[in-house]
Symmetry: none
Subunit: 205 residues, 4 copies
Amino acid sequence: MSQVAYLPAGKREQTKVQNRQAILVAAREVFGELGYETATVRDIIRRTGLAAGTFYNYYRSKEEVFAALADDGARRFGPILKSLRAQHGGDFESFVRAAITAYFEFQAAEHANFLARRPAGEPHVHIHGETPEMAAVYAEVRDAIVEAVSGADGPDPDYTAAACIAVAREVGEKMLERRPIDTRAAAEFAVAMILGGLNGLPRAG
Amino acid sequence: MSQVAYLPAGKREQTKVQNRQAILVAAREVFGELGYETATVRDIIRRTGLAAGTFYNYYRSKEEVFAALADDGARRFGPILKSLRAQHGGDFESFVRAAITAYFEFQAAEHANFLARRPAGEPHVHIHGETPEMAAVYAEVRDAIVEAVSGADGPDPDYTAAACIAVAREVGEKMLERRPIDTRAAAEFAVAMILGGLNGLPRAG
Amino acid sequence: MSQVAYLPAGKREQTKVQNRQAILVAAREVFGELGYETATVRDIIRRTGLAAGTFYNYYRSKEEVFAALADDGARRFGPILKSLRAQHGGDFESFVRAAITAYFEFQAAEHANFLARRPAGEPHVHIHGETPEMAAVYAEVRDAIVEAVSGADGPDPDYTAAACIAVAREVGEKMLERRPIDTRAAAEFAVAMILGGLNGLPRAG
Amino acid sequence: MSQVAYLPAGKREQTKVQNRQAILVAAREVFGELGYETATVRDIIRRTGLAAGTFYNYYRSKEEVFAALADDGARRFGPILKSLRAQHGGDFESFVRAAITAYFEFQAAEHANFLARRPAGEPHVHIHGETPEMAAVYAEVRDAIVEAVSGADGPDPDYTAAACIAVAREVGEKMLERRPIDTRAAAEFAVAMILGGLNGLPRAG
DNA sequence: AATGAATGAGCCTTCATTCAT
DNA sequence: AATGAATGAAGGCTCATTCAT
């Protein structure tokens, strides 16, 4: 068995995990700052201090790291949301409150990891429905909303979900621009807006 | 010199205006179909039948034509909005209804000009806060909202404006995806959601 | 018709033709010196003094310029061969003599256009059956040979064609390495070898 | 130290030899399938089950393993050829027959080791004069031919050798493309062609 | 003004080779 | 020795922009 040699368990494996994470973090930053199209793989890798080619040891393409980001967000935020939904059972209102709060706190925590420098001179594009964290919220929240509002005479579930999520996203984004970041106030606002809005909705889809 | 002089604009002049407009129209289509980054100047110019270089006689850059698009939207939709605001005077609720309706109709009309083919295999990005038509709504609507809700104990005007606009945008977008496009139903929904939401808002900013 | 403008007929058109030709010439040199794989588009374009991107105004890819090279060779040598075949009608021997002679002269002329510097340190690969000039010979000569030797009891036409062409190619290549380049002697040799070989062939394929 | 000492090579030694051989075999396959440029070191090493870096413990570069391949071919086929030459003494004709036959059989045997998949969409290149097995034939056969044909008034030995080898190579290659592979028929053809060709040659170089 | 070829920076990706383990 | 991640120099190609005509 002269071919056995060093099992990957020591510093090597550790570095690998670190690098993978570093790329992910850098990617989140860069995508956040520049948007998917404008961001380049070099932008991402430059922040990690790694070599250009190294990126491709971890992700096969720019697109794949983006997907990984979404997975990562979903993997981390999804369970939170799921458990909230279970906890709050049929009480939609308290679920919304808890979910929005959790989402804003999650966002604030993510945000703390990097400065958001935006290059001037380019229209700001943003990733729609596919933001890592948003992807998680979207699926789960949409389900919850659909469940809560649907019915023969309920409001249009598609419009409803889109509107609620939009409110959460925009308010969340504005929240991040302020100092200090006040997740409680933002959540309170968004919850009120959403619940009030849902109350005002017409009965016929 | 031997030509008639009483025409306010010579053929030359007219062509210039026409070309400028043609580029604008093509740009709106292309940006709509491909997004800002993916769209190329050649994509735009190709639709006009003009030559690549000609583009730069009218706009100094890809970015500038994009900005012009926003101006154009504002120039056309802005007055509509302004007059609505004047008409509905202090009645915020009826203004919102009228504005949303007008906006959705405007969008539907713009939309009718081209099919929205989106390139597969790429995360869908959308232009944020800078959509031509949106730019117009944004400024004016924000003012109206701020005016309506502000006050020492009113809700946070920034959050409020962002949330309302978000609802209008998302519902508007969803509306465009359906056949037939039903601006009335969408407007009804958005108005209810927005007014209901505003009612639910906490008093303290 | 303010959009008519300058018709491409003057210096512009001329430059285009020159550039296209320059790229073709450079490509022939580079492919000849480095082989298809090793050759880079940058190698080709560098010799023309043009910019990197300009290459793609004329050929869509490295592969396409290679194909164009073959076309070019065929277009120029093909007719020569065709007319020889017509001239020498049924006389296979005299056709072979004329064809080989023409081919060697063609090669010598092409060769005169550039020095063949071969980079050391890399196995020399050469393009097989697809060399521009060879592509022309191949199709036509193969036909002629097949026509001349085939028959129920004739030798294997495939082997025959391959062998004859191989002889012409190798002797031709060696010929180019000598100074002075003596096409007559080389042709005499190749013809003798081929005709002698064909005579020696077994009757049953 | 407590190990037996009468084994000429320890396990270590054996593995080294085995690895070196495994790389060589894999390299022959890969170069054969993909060509020198297209083949990657990883393609080679992947087939051995070894790690990428290990390759460089045995060969200093991609080029070196390629050279080793030629050496290997020569080392294995060279002796065969040498002994044939000795056996057939002055009888050039019978030597050619034996050598060609041996070469074709050698080729067929080598070929049996792998399928020749060639990547589509790329001009087919082949290694010229440097094919492992060819390198061996070349040196020896060239000597034999030179010896047989040279003389003050003999045909040009360089052209002669090149032509004979070309015939053997091309017919050999075509042979490998057929099913079943018929080395006897191919050899018969090549021998006839070569001997007939040599007979037809002019006396003056 | 209109034209469209030329420009060249920059993008994503591959891969021979090195090196810490 | 063996391992396999890291490295970084290219490579093919795109595209916003310039410029001679």
